[in-house]
């Protein structure tokens, strides 16, 4: 009997792995490992995300510790609150026309 079939059914927590490529840079999500505890998670994450020089540091976070926020009510189209949601171009043109300083073309 092969050793893996039964063993692979064991369900372990998922650890989200964040890696820092260089000191001072933000940690970015790299992927995840499935591991029974933090020590296994560390060893496996080191192998997969760390020790070929691709990271200087890792964060391991149990997925359960992450608060998931994904419901967004945007009923009134308030996207102008975002810098990229507010187009100034058209309004600028109108303002210039009102002031009689519209550029030719």
């Amino acid at each position: 009997m092969g050793p893996r079939r039964g063993a692979r059914r064991v369900s372990h927590p998922i650890w989200e792995v964040f890696r820092q490529e260089r000191r001072g840079q933000p940690f970015e999500h790299a992927g995840s490992v499935v591991a029974p505890d933090a020590d296994f998670a560390e060893t496996w994450a080191r192998e997969q995300y760390g020790r070929r020089g691709e990271s200087v540091a890792l964060w391991l976070v149990p997925r359960d510790a992450i608060r998931d926020v994904e419901d967004w009510a945007d009923e009134f189209d308030l996207k102008y609150r975002r810098v990229d949601g507010y187009s100034i171009k058209a309004r600028l043109k109108e303002a210039r026309e009102r002031a009689g300083t519209a550029r030719a073309g």
Partner: protein, 210 residues
């Protein structure tokens, strides 16, 4: 340079790397599969570095690695065993890493600077292997299947080290001294492994192109 001892180290790493890579794709957990395969590959890398040191810059490391007859290999019987059963595999990995650390530590003090330097370089990577092995050992040490496997492989583990380094292994593993399965003898499992390991080399003596 203690060439026989270095050849023993290189052959151990090559053969164990080969054996452990037999788990690639079928290890008990996906993450372990990646880690175990990576460690196996490192061991073969260490073997290559030691063969290269032994043959010198003009020599052919592949020839040293693959052109010997099975009986000429200097690997310890421990690494030859085909153990496709996880308790035994991980017991061997742990025993090997404990023994290997003792051996590498001794090589780091070698009067030959090239040997000491390479040993230090190997040791820095072995630190990860030890972390991996210790992790499994911590997890499984009370498991009857694991303990039985450690006890079964113990005489083989003693054979990895020369007599003068065995006392430390006995102390660290915590089992009673036993009659070692000595290096220089081979198990029946080496010959089929040798067939497989040297197949490409023998079929293309001028060198295979990939």
């Amino acid at each position: 340079m203690n060439e026989q001892a270095l050849l023993g180290l290189a052959d151990d790493e090559l053969v164990l790397g080969w054996r452990d890579s037999e788990w690639t794709g079928i290890a008990p957990l996906l993450e372990e599969d990646v880690a175990f395969s990576s460690i196996a590959q490192n061991e073969i890398g260490h073997a290559r570095a030691v063969y290269e040191l032994l043959v010198g810059t003009e020599g052919d490391a592949d020839a040293l690695a693959f052109d010997r007859r099975p009986e000429e290999y200097r690997c310890a019987p421990l690494v030859e065993l085909r153990l496709l059963e996880w308790a035994h595999t991980i017991a061997r990995r742990w025993l090997y890493e404990v023994a290997d650390e003792i051996r590498i530590t001794a090589f780091k003090d070698d009067s030959d600077r090239a040997v000491a330097g390479l040993a230090a370089k190997i040791d820095r990577e072995e630190a990860y292997h030890r972390m991996h092995a210790e992790m499994w050992h911590e997890r499984l040490r009370e498991e009857p299947r694991f303990r039985a496997a450690v006890e079964e492989l113990w005489p083989y583990a003693l054979g990895v080290l020369p007599a003068e380094l065995r006392a430390e292994l006995v102390e660290r593993v915590g089992l009673a001294d036993a009659e070692p399965v000595e290096r220089g003898t081979h198990t029946d499992e080496l010959a089929p492994l040798w067939e497989e390991m040297t197949m490409v080399r023998r079929s293309a003596p001028a060198g295979a192109q990939w």
